[in-house]
């Protein structure tokens, strides 16, 4: 199964997320830019996503909300810079309304790769602290983790020959 790779280097205000999909890139682009499709996949299943507005054009704004079963809400908004396109990707600002003023710049690209599509998301934050706060939050409240994660980490820390 495809794995999501997240690279967050120490001391750098940046996160790079890459993932391969077994689908043509035009379809990926649709899933990212059609709000009716976006709500069907972005975020964990236990949260309901609703799109307040989603104006896919240069200077167009977007806003969406994740709602939990307990009524908690997390809203996000941003602005598209340049009209999103298959070849140019999506460039947008991103701001969590619970932490106003902490804005990141996100670039999503869709590359043909091994018969499928490689989606690369590059998030640049205003500071390392902002980046770390986003990673720390995990965008969601707690998920139980176990020592298995330690095993996985150590497995990834490949020995040098």
């Amino acid at each position: 199964m495809a794995t999501t790779q997240i690279i967050a280097e120490p001391g750098m205000p940046q996160i790079v997320i890459t993932r391969e999909f077994d689908a043509p890139r035009a379809l990926l682009f649709r899933a990212y830019t059609d709000p009716g499709l976006l709500v069907q996949w972005l975020g964990p299943r236990r949260l309901t996503m609703s799109v307040d507005h989603f104006d896919v054009r240069d200077g167009g704004t977007w806003r969406y909300i994740h709602r939990g079963a307990d009524g908690t809400e997390a809203a996000f908004h941003g602005v598209f810079h340049g009209t999103p396109s298959l070849d140019g990707g999506i460039v947008q600002t991103f701001e969590f309304e619970g932490a106003p003023g902490h804005v990141s710049l996100e670039t999503v690209t869709f590359e043909e790769h091994a018969g499928g599509t490689l989606v690369r998301t590059n998030d640049v934050f205003q500071s390392v602290e902002d980046r770390d706060a986003m990673l720390q939050s995990g965008m969601q409240e707690g998920i139980n983790e176990s020592m298995e994660r330690l095993d996985e980490l150590l497995a990834r820390l490949a020995p040098v020959s």
Partner: protein, 120 residues
């Protein structure tokens, strides 16, 4: 969802700094198999024992290893707790994208089936 400064940030920075070096990561991997002396740890590397000692000092300062004596040997011991904190730190963010993208896989498959059944 809480986006706020976390007290442990400084410790995390130190741990990440220690993990940023491939030799130090390899030393940690070796220590998962059991405690070892500097000579044992240095054996697989082309670098000198003093260089390995310096790496061990960085790992010790980050709390990733402890060192104790057994007879005349000084042994390094892996301390798992800081590593666990680091992995939890990223785990929730990773889980968000893992689950989102798994949902996207399902959606893409459905869209492709739909297109196959109703071409054009």
């Amino acid at each position: 969802m809480a986006v706020e400064a976390v007290e442990a940030d400084d410790q995390l920075s130190v741990v990440f700094g220690a993990l940023a070096d491939p030799t130090r990561r390899a030393l940690l991997t070796r220590l998962t198999q059991g405690d070892a002396t500097v000579a044992e740890l240095a054996a697989p590397f082309k670098v000198s024992q003093p260089a390995i000692s310096r790496h061990l000092k960085v790992l010790e300062q980050a709390g990733l290893i402890s060192r104790h004596r057994r007879a005349t040997a000084r042994l390094s011991h892996l301390e798992a707790e800081p590593l666990r904190e680091v992995t939890e730190w990223l785990a929730r963010y990773q889980a968000y994208w893992d689950e989102s993208y798994e949902r996207l896989d399902v959606l893409l498959a459905a869209l492709q089936d739909d297109h196959d059944e109703h071409p054009g």
